[in-house]
């Protein structure tokens, strides 16, 4: 039995709608990103109309959204594309008021089979002014039909358990639930940044946040095998993959840091080790960023979280980066909130996997929390920093991480 309707997706744009003359650029990027994100599900016609985007399967895969599970997967994928406030699965059909009522009833049955709802309301929009009934009349008619079929329901216009939306345009549409989007701006509209990615909770969230402002990402990870295990590297790849669901493909640069770390350990004072290490990391990241056309560094630092994240320590590490800003989107964010974002983007469970690292051997028991310029001059006296940076940049292996990569 073929259905009397086709399922399509309606997505709503957020901030982009407020843009001025360059709005078109943002919209085109958003549509490109949607097309790229949905590639694995087949071809879709993606049409923008005012602040909304209609996503309809093409004839090569007309039934892709008719399977509920797949439809929900595609819907989720749509909401992961930055620039959208929400998206809904929508039934598209033709016909008169009877047809509208019939579909609204089917949708209600569908909703009630999964939820124990008691109250509802109907909202409608009439874009096709040739349609004989006005919006309030459509609402009343559909509401009445639902009440007759489901006498156990009642109407509540203020706080209904569910809403049936009816739209009359060239075609007719009914839908109910809206899945919230991740908002922000389309990736690709704000240049490219180099994320310092570790295996922890913060840096993937920092990357996600910058991507939500339209930034494309590359990432660098400092690998100290055998002090950190191969599993720690696998974990970082997994985290990059999770972030790439939102940000698109990430080039992950893995810097072989073992010898550099040993050199630092042997030739600089214990209590400054974290700082000297981070300064070298920043310099390597900056050089790589310039090479790759990235215009900023991104870290997951949060003020006061650990010894290296005091204002003095941040200043001392920050000053080595001369050619670009260092963005720290989490600088004023509470750890709990960071964890919440991490959970929401699906990274938390991976971030807390136990093979963090065995680098603890390189962590001083009492690191300097308020380092001064003279301390760092002293600490780096015996180090050949340019040589270490060169060694770091040369010892990089790059992986292309996509959300579908194995």
């Amino acid at each position: 039995m073929s259905k009397s309707y086709r399922t399509i997706i309606l997505a709503r744009m957020g901030e982009i709608a407020l843009k001025g003359l360059n709005r078109g650029k943002f919209e085109r990027q958003l549509i490109d990103n949607l097309r790229w994100r949905l590639k694995e599900y087949g071809a879709f016609s993606i049409v923008q109309s005012q602040s909304r985007i209609w996503i309809e399967p093409k004839d090569t895969n007309p039934d892709i959204l008719e399977d509920k599970e797949t439809a929900n997967q595609v819907l989720r994928a749509v909401t992961q594309v930055f620039g959208l406030v929400s998206a809904s699965l929508v039934w598209k059909f033709d016909g008169d008021m009877d047809s509208i009522k019939e579909h609204a009833l089917m949708l209600t049955d569908d909703i009630l089979s999964e939820h124990d709802y008691k109250t509802f309301k109907v909202e409608s929009k009439r874009g096709d002014k040739r349609f004989p009934l006005a919006s309030p009349e459509i609402c009343a008619d559909v509401g009445e039909a639902i009440l007759i079929a489901h006498p156990e329901l009642s109407v509540d216009v203020h706080e209904p358990d569910f809403i049936i939306y009816v739209e009359v345009r060239e075609n007719r549409f009914v839908y109910s639930e809206k899945l919230e989007g991740h908002r922000g701006l389309p990736v690709g509209t704000a240049g490219k940044g180099m994320l310092l990615l570790s295996g922890g909770i913060d840096s993937p969230v920092a990357g996600y946040m910058m991507a939500s402002r339209g930034m494309q990402l590359e990432a660098i990870y400092f690998h100290s095998y055998p002090y950190t295990s191969e599993r720690a590297l696998e974990k970082v790849k997994d985290l990059a993959k999770i972030v790439s669901q939102y940000s698109g493909t990430i080039l992950l640069h893995v810097c072989n840091f073992t010898d550099i770390q040993l050199d630092l350990y042997k030739n600089s004072p214990q209590d400054m080790l974290t700082i000297t290490m981070r300064r070298v990391m920043f310099e390597i990241a900056e050089e790589l960023a310039n090479k790759q056309g990235c215009k900023c560094l991104i870290t997951g630092e949060s003020l006061g979280q650990v010894a290296s994240q005091t204002i003095e320590a941040i200043q001392i590490t920050n000053e080595v980066v001369k050619t670009m800003p260092v963005f720290r989107p989490l600088i004023g964010v509470d750890k709990e909130e960071t964890c919440n974002i991490s959970r929401r983007i699906g990274a938390f469970e991976t971030s807390i996997l136990p093979y963090e690292d065995c680098c603890t051997v390189f962590v001083a028991k009492h690191p300097k929390t308020h380092p001064q310029k003279k301390h760092i001059i002293e600490a780096e006296e015996k180090l050949d920093i340019p040589a270490l940076v060169k060694q770091g940049v040369e010892g990089i292996t790059t992986y292309k991480i996509e959300r579908t990569s194995k």
């Binding site: 055998p226 042997k266 136990p354 093979y355 690292d357 051997v361």
Partner: protein, 379 residues
Amino acid sequence: MSIYLDNSATTKPLPEVARLVYETLSGDETFGNPGSLHRLGVLAEKDLNDSLDKISKLLSCKKEELYFTSCGSESVNTSILGYMHQNPRAGKKVISTRTEHKASLESLEKLAKEGYEICYIPVKSDGKPDLDALSDAIDENTALLTFTHVNNETGSILPLQEIIEIRNKKNRNTKIHLDCVQSLGKLPISLSRMGIDMASFSGHKIHALKGFGLLYIKSGVRVAPLILGGGQQRGMRSGTQSPYLASAFALALEKALEDIDGNLLRMTGLRDRFSADLIDLGAQILSPADALPYVLNVSFPSFQSETMLHCLEEKEIFVSTVSACSSKTKKVSYVLTEMGIRREIASNAVRFSFSRFNTKEELDQTVKSIKEIYERYKV
């Protein structure tokens, strides 16, 4: 060529075993269900019986006393839980130590939750249970003793004879379960003469295959089954038996026992030499001096366990650690801490575990590699 020194975790199947499995599984008439009435079933059943015959002879017990399971853990679980559940009048107390394998400890925890009394007697610095404490602990209410024959982390050998004597003196009705997963094929095991009532074994630790365990229950000892179903193996362990896993086990066991004394002697020599070399490098041996020579637990100063593991891995040498590295909580082997070894030392512990196929050259190469690791990575 890589050097595999993690034989307590698992072993490489013998080439003979691999061949036998391939031939059995690719044959047109050798894949049957031993429960089927047709010829294929009869062939499979005969195959299974042949393996049982062979294994029971090699372990000196009756074939009616043996059951095939899926792994060592299943055998241990069945023994501990099954015996206690089946014999409520034997008493409510079980005696063990805290250095057992998790398969035992988790079973005991389950019993504790059900209201049984679990008495953990301390172990001494050599990893052996304190026999005075054992003697004090055994009473009228003690239904079961469960111990590991050879500890998987340190190679410490259980003083079985003394334990049997204490049991006989204190309460003859107390049964003994012995976890022989690590000792099989390395120490002589003669079930009918050892004075034990139940024993557990595993296939993949003796160069047979994963997915196969063996359970010994002495005639007359009643144990409730863990797995219910079609009533195979006299109702003790339902589920279709696997003739090829059983014959792989029988073959591997036969090979392991061929020169068990010679192997033990040779391995003792290799181990002694190896540990002397490691001590020269500044390492501390954590295994007791009289441990089974197939296991050597070593602590390397200034190398956390996992770092040393990865350093060795980089040189294609595979070992094991139970102390996982994490910057926040450091998990240290409970076996070592129970023996009174300090946390700082235990957190640097690495386990080398050998098979009879390891050579002097391999151990010399390992020592050489550790020297190189010290030079390059010591901080």
